[in-house]
């Protein structure tokens, strides 16, 4: 039954701690992975269970001892959870330095959370030339050394297998995204659960559950909803998804860092699996934290919205996320030029009242249905 499968996604998405405890009870070690990209394949290949740490909707208290108020609340809430022992039992956290706030998370983590090791992952921004690929590889080797200190063992053959596991998961997530574009009966909240649960399950389990879901999905739904494309870093707030659903909006594609941006690029097949993983990073693009002067992401949003017959684009801005704030101006202009209506809503991990978002999206819906 599809409702059972959807419930399983929801349970995993809503209970990361229970998932973590389940794996730990099985004798597995947990390595947390912070936004936006981390070499999960390596962590997986070395016998750990990678679990996403994208923070939580909560009031910030202890994190304020470290961060000023004007830093992204996703990052602040990761530290808050760390200080409050929500991740207790995890062996390490891998934090990439892909934005300025993430750089400071790692530095603060060392002093705020002393029982979970901080493993930095330094990615290059000039990632495509050979010297960029070599630097990515050096960053991966640094992660491997740190994981070895925690008892992990690196084996290229195991990494080859993990690369395959992750490619298979990427593929199924792309199929899910495509399928959901034709299924307006799957709500925004359910869609969010499918993507979010991927962070709290092993990729093998999540791939299997997604396959089950796709098999059960059946014929395209007939509901007449308002097709939109959503863009942003994170869109998992239940209130936000509730509003999308209340407004009769159907997410036909996403450009969300915590969702589809994770699954666009596969590890290529190469003899050296670590080199292959570095080449994967070189091939990644269309993201606010990956340098590309041409900003192809902007056109990607417009093209995808047209391909999927979206009526509009909703940019969900995580407050204080400057990489996204810079890109927003270009996205707005490109949408205007393409005659594609766009709405901007601002969200925050500490937000309790979503009435402003509701009003914005109500107006947007009215505008699109006029």
């Amino acid at each position: 039954m599809i409702q059972d499968t959807i419930r399983k996604f929801h349970e995993a998405a809503a209970s990361p701690r229970a998932q973590m405890e389940k794996y730990m009870a099985e004798g597995k070690k947990i390595v947390l992975t912070a936004p936006v990209y981390t070499p999960e394949e390596i962590i997986h290949s070395m016998g750990f269970v990678p679990m996403g740490a994208w923070g939580a909707d909560m009031e910030l208290n202890r994190a304020k001892e470290y961060f000023p108020a004007f830093l992204c609340s996703i990052v602040q809430s990761i530290l808050e959870l760390g200080i409050r022992d929500a991740y207790k039992g995890a062996s390490a956290i891998v934090i990439p330095s892909l934005c300025d706030t993430l750089k400071t998370l790692g530095e603060n983590w060392k002093y705020a959370v002393d029982d979970i090791k901080f493993i930095p992952m330094t990615y290059p921004q000039n990632r495509k030339p050979d010297y960029g690929i070599a630097f990515t590889k050096a960053g991966y080797e640094r992660v491997i050394r740190d994981l070895e200190e925690l008892g992990g063992k690196f084996d290229p053959e195991a990494l080859k297998e993990s690369n395959k596991v992750y490619n298979a998961h990427n593929a199924v997530m792309r199929r899910v995204d495509e399928a959901l574009a034709a299924h307006p009966e799957i709500t925004a909240a359910e869609r969010s659960d499918i993507f979010k649960s991927a962070y709290f399950m092993t990729k093998e389990e999540h791939t299997a559950l997604c396959e089950e879901f796709l098999a059960e999905l059946g014929e395209a739904g007939a509901e007449d909803k308002l097709a939109i494309v959503v863009s942003g870093i994170l869109t998992d707030a239940p209130q936000l998804n509730g509003i999308f659903d209340d407004m009769g909006m159907h997410i036909v594609a996403d450009d969300v860092a915590a969702q589809s941006r994770q699954y666009r690029t596969d590890v290529p097949e190469m003899d050296d699996p670590l080199q292959a993983l570095a080449v994967k990073f070189a091939n990644m693009d269309n993201c606010s934290v990956l340098y590309n002067v041409k900003k192809p992401r902007v056109q990607w949003i417009v093209d995808t919205a047209k391909e999927r017959n979206a009526k509009g684009v909703v940019v969900v801005m995580t407050k204080f996320c400057d990489p996204e704030e810079f890109d927003y101006v270009m996205i707005k202009r490109a949408c205007e030029a393409a005659d594609l209506p766009l709405a901007l809503v601002e969200v925050d991990r500490q937000m309790v009242h979503f009435e402003q978002v509701r009003t914005n999206l109500e107006t947007f819906r009215d505008m699109l249905t006029m």
Partner: protein, 419 residues
């Protein structure tokens, strides 16, 4: 109706012209020439680059490319009172007011192409280096889009380790030569090893003199007012690869040494307390922030800027390592240790931290780092909220209260020590 009272016309004392042999004159001239030279180059049809402050200047200097520094321009615009006006232009385009105010001012300038408070030559290329922040990448990406000109990106990632790795040196070196070749191809320029050697010589000479000049604060009282450094720093940003910068910095060093010998200082009141100032200056409130200290006899004797632009090296690899070790590219421990050294070398009694709304990276681990500095140096630490260029994010009353609090603790500490 109240009778109109005619105020007597204020008679300003004519300023004594500066001695052209003084460091102040020389440094002021270099700083203002930096803008004028690029404007002149543009008129003559020569290419101009907009350059981020910690980009290796050795590249444009060796290639003979005219340069302008948007951060320097934005600071000038903010100091002359136009920060808010320019920020609002960018905000009207859709840029969030959470974005760095330097970036907003610069993007506003890219649209308006004029600002009487500080004009610059419009660029033909953008030279971006993110060793101070990743915000720089996004800012320059957008400039490239807005202006339709190429951008050369020299990526120097934040280093989570204490030492610079060989892998990082290899990565940055590869980019260095790629940047050179791209510029050669774009503008028909030619790299010259002899010129490069000359430029590195100039840069090291200026850096050595700057580091030694700022180190004169080791004397009590300090032979200079630390706010001088904020002005002189402009030369280290824009012209450290030029011969005249080294000469001017050596003059500055000579003057500071002479001040010490004669018992003089550019801090013109009694130096009761010595502090370290942390963060970029609040350019829109330079006078208010300076006066708040001076009125209490507090001299800001050192800042990390004393270190930030000291690029002294003996080889190509050392040069690359120096650019990988600028303040915002290094981890908490290395950042902390550099500051602790400055505090100890300069007999600092308190730390005043500018929590700069524009700079997420600088402010993001400042709380923990300043706690550690305070503990290690046994000095009080206080912070105030401000912004490097957007005047809307600063409250003079809060600043004054915080400085007063810091002053009282330093006084109490002094009394306890004397007792």
């Amino acid at each position: 109706m109240a009778e109109e009272v005619k105020k007597p016309e204020e008679v300003k004392k004519p300023r004594k012209p500066l001695d052209p042999n003084s460091a102040k004159y020389k440094l002021g001239k270099i700083a203002s020439d930096a803008f004028a030279t690029a404007i002149e180059a543009k008129k003559q049809g020569r290419p101009v680059a907009w350059v981020s402050s910690n980009f290796p200047v050795e590249i444009p200097e060796t290639l003979g490319l005219a340069t302008a520094y948007p951060e320097n321009q934005a600071a000038g615009i903010a100091a002359r009172g136009a920060g808010e006006r320019m920020c609002e232009v960018a905000e009207a385009e859709g840029y969030s007011n959470d974005i760095c105010a330097y970036a907003r001012i610069s993007l506003a300038y890219a649209k308006l192409k004029e600002c009487p408070e500080q004009d610059v030559a419009m660029p033909d290329v953008l030279l971006c280096c993110n060793n101070i922040c990743n915000c720089m990448i996004k800012w320059y990406e957008n400039l490239s889009q807005e202006l339709g000109i190429p951008m050369i990106m020299l990526d120097i990632p934040f280093n989570p380790d204490y030492e610079v790795s060989d892998a990082e040196v290899a990565y940055v070196s590869g980019q260095f030569w790629d940047a050179v070749h791209q510029l050669e191809d774009l503008f028909g320029l030619k790299w010259d090893d002899d010129k490069f050697e000359q430029v590195t010589g100039f840069s090291c000479r200026a850096s050595r003199a700057w580091l030694e000049a700022t180190a004169q604060a080791k004397y009590t009282p300090s032979p200079f007012n630390g706010f001088d450094l904020l002005n002189h720093m402009a030369v280290m940003v824009t012209a450290r690869g030029k011969e005249e910068a080294g000469e001017a910095m050596e003059t500055l060093l000579k003057e500071y040494k002479e001040n010490h010998e004669k018992g003089e200082s550019t801090f013109r009141v009694e130096e009761k307390h010595r502090i370290m100032f942390e963060g970029i200056a609040c350019w829109p409130y330079l006078r208010a922030t300076s006066r708040g200290l001076k009125d209490r006899g507090i001299n800001m004797v050192t800042t990390i800027y004393a270190d930030a632009f000291g690029f002294d090296y003996n080889s190509f690899d050392e040069m690359i390592r120096a650019y990988c070790s600028v303040p915002n590219a290094i981890n908490l421990e290395k950042s902390r240790d550099k500051r602790i050294k400055l505090c100890k070398d300069n007999n600092v009694e308190g730390l005043l931290v500018h929590t700069n709304r524009s700079c997420k990276l600088w402010s993001g681990f400042m709380a923990e780092m300043s706690r550690q500095i305070g503990k290690e140096c046994n000095i009080p630490v206080t912070s105030f909220d401000g912004d490097q260029a957007d005047p809307r994010n600063f409250s003079e009353a809060q600043y004054d209260t915080r400085v007063q609090g810091l002053c009282e603790i330093m006084e109490a500490n002094k009394e306890a020590k004397e007792a």
